[in-house]
Symmetry: C2
Subunit: 195 residues, 2 copies
DNA sequence: TTAATAACGTGACTTAAATCACTACCCTGA
DNA sequence: TCAGGGTAGTGATTTAAGTCACGTTATTAA
């Protein structure tokens, strides 16, 4: 029950619109609570990403594994973030990504078809989707630029400035992987920046 | 006149919906043709990106200049692509990017307020916007992964596979900059891959 | 409570790519 | 038509970051 409050509040805040009682009923009908324990997978490489999840509690990461066994963390996510490989979710193709709980995780999940329903019938939900798309586009652009033109140190400083919660909450090897660095390099950067 | 045909066709193809005559009238009212010669700027660092442009003919690139004078090319664009710094366009903040014509360029441009009108009143346009957002999200995700986990050579191969038009149409130094490489490195990669 | 495992720190060495320097070949416009 | 800026190729050198190896400190789970 109270799980849904977080989702309702989020939709209303992002969209700037109120949800009616029937909106809420519809959302509760189509979003299903799901719990994962730390290290369990929300999505595994090769599967189709049938569900998008709204994080009520906990955190997760999206990563790939290359042929040498290296893990690359593309996304970190926590409360009030959405969890999905959008390519697989939209196109229903097998995913190249893994999504793993970093802490015990509570999500509300829904299928693509159900999301389409919400977009059609719940104005606040549709507005929210547009705002999120804008925010994602902006964030992607920034991250792309950072990845391309910043040094390792600048990328770390950038992360500390824009997402200090990440640095506090996640282990350094995750942060390193998210920044596209080896854990050793991040360790050395941190040593230098503390002087 | 015939400029608009390209836009109409594009909207109809992407959305899968037909435009009515009044839809077309509205689009022609709010999109303004603009021509730029090679090397002219569609957008300059520090300005607000007031317009979004649909490329009818020609090509352009979005790039930043860092404090050492290095240019980083974030986007390359050609016919049927949109031209804007979305962060600046949505939020009306000064941009950190430059958008420069790589060839003589013809665009149809429109303001944020006018786009909002189209989204509200032209169903095909609204559908198109959603499809584009999906595509952008997917493309961004792929590019981010490539930037993070691929070597220089793999990134070039990836580009040749996914965007062979780029490699044919743009000078190598642009391609190198787009891939986040020095032009010398790209030159050497090309030499090796031809053996 | 204590093994076991994961996370972190640090030195030595390697490597991919950048930088610097120079040459050659274009286009293109006065 | 030829001078000069833009573009590309290539060798020599440098450098940022990765890799390897090993020790230490936290966490976790039985």
């Amino acid at each position: 029950m109270s799980n849904f409050e977080a989702l309702f509040e989020y939709i209303q805040e992002i969209s700037g619109k109120l949800l009616s009682e029937s909106d809420k009923q519809l959302l509760m009908l189509h979003f299903k609570p799901r719990k994962l324990r730390k290290r369990q997978f929300f999505l595994q490489e090769g599967d189709v990403c049938k569900y998008i999840g709204f994080i009520v509690k906990g955190s997760a990461r999206t990563f790939t594994v290359d042929e040498k066994g290296h893990e690359n963390t593309l996304k970190l996510a926590m409360e009030n973030w959405w969890l999905a490989d959008f390519e697989s979710f939209y196109l229903l193709t097998p995913t190249r990504f893994n999504i793993e709980a970093l802490e015990n995780l509570e999500v509300l999940q829904s299928t693509n078809a159900q999301i389409e329903e919400h977009l059609k019938h719940i104005p606040a939900f549709a507005t929210m989707a547009n705002v999120i798309n804008q925010n994602y586009t902006i964030a992607n652009q920034k991250r792309m630029q950072a990845a391309m033109s910043y040094t390792a140190e600048e990328r770390y400083e950038d992360l500390m400035r824009n997402y200090p919660q990440f640095v506090k909450r996640f282990p350094q090897n995750m942060i390193a992987s998210y920044l596209g660095l080896s854990r050793e390099t991040l360790s050395r950067i941190r040593k230098n920046s503390f002087k």
